[in-house]
Amino acid sequence: MTAVQMHWSYDKFLPNDLEFGHAAIEELMTALGAATWEGMDLFRIQMAIEEAVVNAIEHGNKRDPNKKIRLVFDVTPEKAVMEISDEGAGFDHRNVADPTTEDLVDKPRGRGVMLMRELMDEVHFNEVGNHVVMIKLRSPAIPE
């Protein structure tokens, strides 16, 4: 993607390995930068995609090297759509414990899905929970 290319698409099956996942995230971040995304929006997307990819590799595919993840990205200056799929059995995304409750807030786990939902404009899981679509719209510019 060149600096003047404002629409970028990506669709790949990747080995179930964080190294490949992080390389894809770097490509996404570069594409977002070229499409003039910046600041808080860039951070929010990186946080959410990081959580989704790690979840797919570690929790979905349970680090199984024989499985793959699929990443589909579509980036324009106004909207970023990210789809993450794994080959695992999924999870009950409707009943994820709230990590902000008094008894869980100081426990070192369980924040990934919450962060994805809070940082993105839309997050949609499929029925079984092994495919998620995340959508981020560009935030309005803050007047100086």
């Binding site: 990081e50 807030v105 100081d106 070192p108 924040r111 940082l119």
Partner: protein, 119 residues
């Protein structure tokens, strides 16, 4: 004394001021090492007044947050105090969303945090 690769540690009047080597705390191997090194501050070096200075840290994943929570638990068990400072707005938002701003003592600058240790 432990050897550190992911952090630097400076002593300021009994307060251990910790800075992070990585701008982006995201690689799982590095995060594991970071967690071990931070825990060593308490369990090996017996430090219990710890200030984590996030100046220069641009990104951290929730796996890194989990290591901070584990460190907080260890510091409390050692009857110590842990403070954080220098968090950029984006990272502070994550603490707010996850309510970890109620778990950690967040200070704006290193000077603010050091002063707060002396209260």
């Amino acid at each position: 004394m432990s050897t550190y690769r992911r952090i630097t540690v400076v002593d300021d009047g009994g307060i251990s001021i910790v800075r992070f080597v990585d701008k982006k705390i995201v690689d799982s191997g590095s995060i594991e090492q970071l967690g071990e090194e931070m825990n060593s501050l308490v369990t090996v070096d017996k430090r219990n007044l710890i200030l984590l200075n996030f100046d220069g840290v641009e990104f951290m994943s929730s796996a890194a947050l989990n290591k901070l929570i584990s460190l907080n638990t260890k510091v409390k068990a050692a009857a110590g105090r842990l403070k954080l400072c220098g968090l950029r707005a984006e990272i502070k938002e994550v603490f707010t969303i996850t309510r970890l701003d109620r778990v950690f003592d967040l200070r704006k600058t290193e000077a603010d945090a050091v002063a707060a240790f002396k209260l």
